[in-house]
């Protein structure tokens, strides 16, 4: 308690000084500084109110002798009055100063003074004597016409901005950069006032003719903050303009999304999809510049987490939402696919961007083989044209969960000899870093496992232990090795689809899951599989039911 009170005193001194410098915030410097500090000052006001409301007027003045000056100075700063709830909290603080039963004339005078300040805050700073006289003469009070006046001013400014944007050549009617910058500063405290939305939108969308950015960064930050906290609703075009004009805002939006994903329940793709759609990023990413930045941030996240499966899953969901949004976009404004993936060969991009739903089921195998060939070509091609080598190709491939997750299923479903192309693709997907030899070994291993699984699928009775042996899994090999993860997923897939699979499913899982990490991995796998089946509609009722039950049980275990 004592520490808080010391903190408050320090803060008090700091803000008293600031307010004195800001005065009525009529210069560029004071306006900028005020804008930067608005949120913190409001917090300070809140803390002050919490302290003041416990004291009576005399005690307050003993503790903070200059409190009346502080509050009065704040009231003279229109930026502070315009911001969020600051005017309310200021009023509450002022009310605390009133003496319930004034003992002498000084206290009475103080009460009068407080009343005066309250009245000043509310009577709206008058300007334009003529206008004031006119409205008074008609019998109107500010409450009658201020909302209408604000609306007229906002619309008039917005249309002036639009005209400025369109009339490139008419220099007489151009808005000067100073005026634009000034407007953007003034909007910072007003962002969450709905009446001002048309002006905010116009400022974002109409970028005038100067080569460099004129609007103040505080403006962009304030708008972005309001968008992320859902305190303002702007059309998509305005949001895209914001993110194109002010890169830090886009980055902040992505970080905000990451934070939400991290703090939400693990391994629930449906929720991830909700968050992603909610963030408006997929729609914005229809603009290639935004897509590139978003993709880059995903790549960084992937590198930092060493290829965490959750990040891969998020990227896949994002791509899906993005492609849906792209589909809805106006076809005339569509950018060429190349602009989204500038470093990829066009043929590979074209194939990967196909939605499995648009390809006849019978052709899926063929498509996967084609993808494999193209990728292999890109990976094994070490000439100057290729960028980044195998990791780049892998990063590209993992975007497309529809295809990437399908490889194992396709291999298991066919009774024929597993095609080398698919084996390669599967090995590549699970460990992109492997050298040729290592990958060849993995392919051989997988082929063997597939063979065993095929044989077992024909037998009438299955046992979990047999399955494990067939997979060559024993407790001595490092369970985290990529090949092991691959084989785990093959087994799980098998168990979900094979006729007798449901009987041994739980046993298989128990044998597999020695650690909590692996259990999470299995949960992730099941969640992802169900999500994909839902979307592509390739579920069989039995498999689906089994998967759902297993998922539920495992979730309660961790």
């Amino acid at each position: 308690m004592a520490q808080e009170s010391v903190d408050l005193s320090c803060d008090y001194q700091f803000w008293m000084q600031k307010l004195s410098v800001w005065d009525q915030a009529s210069t560029l410097g004071t306006q900028q500084d005020t804008c930067v500090h608005l949120a913190r000052f409001q917090e300070f006001l809140r803390k002050m109110y919490e302290a003041l409301k416990e004291m009576d007027s005399n005690t307050i003045f003993e503790r903070f002798p200059t409190i009346d000056q502080l509050l009065a100075k704040a009231c003279w700063n229109p930026f502070i009055l315009a911001y969020d709830e600051s005017q309310k909290i200021l009023i509450w603080c002022l009310c605390c100063l009133i003496n319930k039963e004034p003992q002498n004339s000084r206290q009475s005078k103080l009460n009068s003074w407080v009343q005066g300040v309250l009245s000043h805050i509310l009577s709206a700073l008058r300007f334009d004597k003529e206008v004031a006289l006119f409205t008074q003469g008609l019998g109107y009070a500010p409450i009658d016409y201020y909302p209408g006046l604000l609306k007229n001013m906002v619309l008039s400014l917005a249309s002036e901005l639009r005209e400025n944007h369109l009339n490139g050549f008419n220099t007489q009617r151009r808005m000067t950069p100073e005026r634009l910058a000034s407007l953007s500063r003034v909007c910072v405290p007003l962002i969450t006032l709905p009446d001002v939305d048309p002006l905010v939108e116009a400022l974002l969308v109409c970028h005038g003719h100067e080569p460099q950015e004129i609007l103040q960064p505080e403006f962009f930050e304030a708008v972005n903050e309001a968008i992320l906290l859902k305190k303002i609703s702007l059309p998509m075009s305005a949001v895209v303009c914001l993110w194109l004009r002010h890169l830090p805002s886009l980055e902040k939006a992505m970080l905000h999304l990451f934070e939400k994903l991290i703090s939400s329940e693990r391994n629930c793709l449906r929720r991830i999809e909700c968050f992603i759609k909610d963030s408006s990023l997929p729609q914005a990413a229809c603009h290639p510049a935004i897509f590139r930045v978003v993709d880059e941030m995903f790549r960084c996240a992937l590198l930092e987490t060493d290829g965490a499966p959750e990040i891969i899953a998020t990227i896949q969901v994002f791509m899906q939402c993005f492609l849906e949004a792209l589909e809805k976009e106006n076809k005339q404004l569509r950018f060429a696919l190349k602009t989204y993936f500038p470093y990829t060969s066009p043929s590979l991009a074209m194939v990967l961007l196909q939605d499995p739903q648009d390809v006849p089921r019978g052709c899926w195998l063929q498509t996967l083989k084609h993808i494999s060939e193209l990728l292999r070509e890109a990976v094994e091609d070490q000439t100057h044209g290729s960028r980044g080598g195998p990791l780049e190709s892998w990063f590209l491939f993992i975007h497309f969960g529809g295809w990437a997750e399908m490889v194992a299923e396709q291999l298991l479903r066919s009774a024929a000899e597993p095609p080398a192309a698919l084996l390669w693709l599967l090995a590549f997907y699970y460990s992109p870093h492997d050298g040729r030899q290592q990958r060849a070994q993995t392919m051989v291993q997988v082929k063997a496992v597939l063979g065993h699984l095929l044989a077992m699928s024909r037998s009438s009775s299955l046992s979990a232990r047999d399955l494990q042996t067939a997979a060559g899994q024993d407790t001595e090999t490092d369970p985290r090795a990529p090949a092991q993860q691959l084989i785990r997923h093959l087994l799980l897939n098998f168990v979900l689809w094979a006729p007798g699979g449901h009987t041994i499913a739980r046993d298989v899982i128990t044998l597999m899951a020695h650690t909590a990490e692996i259990t999470h991995e299995i949960i992730g796998f099941l969640d992802q599989t169900l999500y994909r089946w839902d979307r592509l509609g390739i579920e069989s009722p039995r498999s689906g039911k089994l998967a759902r039950e297993l998922l539920k049980e495992l979730r309660t275990q961790v």
Partner: protein, 374 residues
């Protein structure tokens, strides 16, 4: 119903008193009661503002009040000034009391407590008084900041936001006054003319005459039976201007040519009077042989340039106004003797100037030199 109307009467009195020193006698109970009445009436307005019979009754009562107080001739209404005001009568009362330093200590304390109870559970249905007041403060700051940091006066007055707002208010008030009393608007406008800064008032009238027909306020859209014809306010203005030649002369003198042309195009009833004025002004000028220009005899005479300006602007208006003007000029020229030589009749000279101006304009625009239109 009668009790509601009595409530209205008493509240209107209260509102009027709230500005005077009489509040010195108010105690906390009075303050509380006043605020309660305000809240009640606001509630009534919200619930029954669209409902025919109740709304009509309330309006009629208000109009009676105004008539009794003989308000239209004297000045702004001391109590409730409009039906719309009921929608925020609690804010109105609160502000008046807060501004009134005559309020006693106990009453003041109680008022402040009532208005600003502090953070708490917000009312789910209606915005609390505290919220309304905070919003007003915020709105006021917004207007202030935009005014001093972004607003620039629009040279086309009818598009200027400050002008438009004043014009909207004038039209609204005229409509309400017109409902209260048939001769209301005329007397009201005359009293405004005497009390308000005249230059601004004239501009506002011009802008009001150019506004698109008043759209109904959102909350009244569902009411088809309310007798609101768009343009009633404008009609009242035109009627008044035509009935007050001194005002109309000032109107035509003070406002720029372009604006007057727009106004006369929109309200044809004004054009004969406007033209009449211009003719009068023209006839006061005589030709100075030495200087070779038309001059006036007294300092307040309208100079040639201004006269020319106005006629030029009128000739650029769409027909039928343009044709009327030309006809008038031709008629005047004929009455003067139908001279073709300059320096003898101002009307000849004007027509010559207008024609050559038009000719030059057509040249600039690359059109064939057709003189038939002028």
């Amino acid at each position: 119903m009668e009790s509601l109307l009595q409530h209205l009467d008493r509240f209107s009195e209260l509102l009027a008193v709230s500005r005077t020193a009489h509040v010195r006698t108010w105690d906390p109970v009075t303050v509380r009661r006043a605020l309660q009445w305000a809240r009640y009436l606001r509630h009534i307005h919200r619930r029954f503002g669209r409902h025919g019979p109740i709304r009509t009754a309330l309006e009629r009562r208000l109009h009676n009040q105004w008539r009794q107080e003989g308000v239209f001739g004297r000045g702004p209404v001391p109590g409730l000034a409009s039906f719309q005001a009921l929608g925020h009568c609690d804010v109105l009362l609160s502000l008046r009391l807060l501004e009134n330093q005559a309020l006693g200590d106990a009453a003041r304390h109680h008022l402040v407590q009532q208005l600003f109870p502090g953070p708490g559970v917000p009312d789910a249905d209606e915005e609390t008084l505290q919220e309304s007041l905070a919003r007003l403060a915020r709105c006021g700051s917004a207007v202030h900041m935009l005014r001093f940091n972004g607003y620039r006066k629009n040279l086309n007055l009818q598009e200027d936001s400050l002008m438009k707002t004043q014009a909207d208010l004038l039209l609204e008030r005229l409509q309400e006054v017109g409902k209260a009393e048939a001769e209301g608007p005329a007397r009201f406008l005359s009293s405004l003319w005497e009390r308000l800064p005249q230059n601004n008032f004239l501009k506002v009238i011009a802008v009001a005459l150019l506004q698109p027909p008043l759209s109904p306020r959102p909350q009244e859209e569902s009411e088809p039976s309310i007798h609101k014809t768009p343009g009633e306010g404008s009609q009242a203005l035109v009627h008044w201007l035509l009935g007050n030649s001194e005002v109309f002369a000032a109107f035509c003198r003070a406002l720029p040519a372009g604006l007057l042309t727009l106004v006369t195009s929109r309200h044809p009833a004004l054009s004969p009077v406007y033209l009449g004025l211009l003719t009068d002004w023209g006839q006061r000028l005589h030709y100075d042989l030495q200087k070779g220009i038309w001059v006036g005899t007294e300092s307040q005479d309208v100079p040639w340039e201004e006269l020319h300006n106005r006629f030029q602007s009128l000739c650029q208006a769409p027909p039928p106004l343009k044709d009327k003007v030309l006809t008038a000029l031709e008629t005047c020229k004929a009455q003067d003797g139908d001279f073709e030589v300059p320096g003898l009749s101002i009307w000849t000279d004007l027509l010559l100037a207008l024609r050559s101006g038009a000719f030059r304009k057509r040249q600039v625009l690359g059109l064939s030199p057709g003189l038939s239109s002028v």
